[in-house]
Amino acid sequence: MIHPEIIVRVTDIAVVAESVKQFTFERVDGGSMPVFAPGAHIVVSMDDQGKLRRNPYSLMSSPSDTTSYQISVLRVVESRGGSAFMHEHVDVGDTMTISHPIDLFPLHATAKRHVLIAGGIGITPFLPMMEVLNESGQVFELHYSMRSRRRGAFLSELERRYGSRVSAEVDDEGGRLDTRKLLINQPLGTHIYVCAPLPMIDLVFGVARELGWAEENLHREVFLAPPAGSPFYTNLAKSGTTVYVAEHQSLLESIEAAGIDVPYLCRGGACGQCETTVIDFDGQLMHHDIFLTDDEKVSGTKIMPCVSRFVGASLTVEL
């Protein structure tokens, strides 16, 4: 499986908020970056002392600026290593490998109105989205929830650019997003886009569904590590090896760390690229993906290693 990857140099690192660093990448070969659709992310490969890490990050740069890409990374305390690596081991001048842009969180082409709801670092995909919406004269509003203004990256710039279309809800100032009030009077044709930790997404979607919003109008980008769980072993039948999947590591990551190439795309259980055949197991498959059908999950013949896990005595997959 060929992943079209791009070799880049880190040309700038800026602290844009408390615990948030912004990285700028330019192509080593001097060429233009691929144009991307707002909402797209790239997968950044990191060599952490011989251990291969791959993390997805939303592109926050302007889609029309093809000289460089920019991402922002929040330093997460219980990090599985990705954000720690980016914050502590990446310097200006380093080379890294990134994927082509992939957009699993696009703007809906026939929406009449776009309501953007950001939680913390979830603000990143909305920067290019608002630029494109603004340029094309479409109607939008942003609701940006943050723990404190110190953590709210880009808030002042967004308020300056988009004025009253931006509202901030700041936790430590007592601000809280009144989701019901926000959603109850939106006109027909409105779409909402939520990029935030999973509990916030569930809350917003829950309120929307309770008010009668159609599923087709709800969009989400999950900015979250794969679910953690008790460690387990997995036998790789074709390779003849066994891997150990640690508590905060995904099955996909443990297979990659063993030097085995598995097709992947979103690394979030949504796209199906990493679908792997289960040959045998004694225990229970814990499916955390949204790709397999219910029948496929029950059949016990498939697993999505990027997010799913296993509990039990033994698991063998066809890799």
Partner: protein
């Protein structure tokens, strides 16, 4: 027989989450609602019913439901105008229901699409005649209330068979010339869609 391009009319079920229910009913489509809610239901307090009789007569029964709003439309076109007015001011917390012939359902789905209402979110129930609206692929003219196949296009006179291929955008089945390869042989018309 399931035609993959034809909508599936899942049948009326009350979506209790919606803040407001708007119902467009044609002819026997009224039964879809009456059979479910004749005994009353809390949703009626937030419901607005539009009804065009088209050959049946459920006016009295529908009025008796005591919905928040009820309007008897003189024609299907008047019903659509009234519905447009409602949707122009409606919120995302609105659920749209439609029941009646396929052509009526399709016309409401088309109208709703202009207001950004997702097709899959509209609750639909088919009631009444199976007659079809057919677009002649050759002259692009529409033929209403088609019950037989093959039939003659009212616009260009070609003899058309009704293909089991449906366009939601056009709210019509496709009609294709049946005797292009054998001009003198036109199969007898069979009543297919009563």
């Amino acid at each position: 027989m399931a035609i993959k391009s034809r909508p599936v009319y899942a049948g009326f079920n009350v979506d209790i989450t919606a803040q407001r229910h708007v119902l467009a009913l044609e002819g026997q489509g009224a039964d879809a609602l009456l059979e479910k809610l004749a005994g009353g239901h809390p949703m009626l307090e937030r419901a607005e019913i539009l009804y065009v009789a088209t050959g049946s007569d459920h006016d009295v029964a529908l009025r008796a439901l005591g919905a928040a709003n009820y309007w008897l439309a003189p024609t299907a076109e008047a019903l659509r105008d009234r519905l447009s007015e409602i949707l122009a001011h409606a919120t995302m917390c609105t659920r749209l229901y439609v029941a009646g012939t396929e052509g009526f359902i399709g016309s409401i789905v088309q109208l709703a699409a202009d207001f950004g209402i997702a097709n899959a979110s509209i609750i639909k129930e088919f009631r009444g005649s199976q007659q079809r609206r057919v677009q002649c692929v050759h002259c692009k003219g529409f033929n209403d209330n088609v019950t037989i196949s093959p039939f003659q296009c009212v616009h260009c006179d070609l003899h058309l068979f009704v293909r089991d291929h449906f366009s939601v955008r056009l709210n019509a089945f496709q009609g294709v010339c049946i005797n292009a390869e054998t001009p003198d042989i036109i199969p007898p018309s069979v009543e297919m869609y009563r």
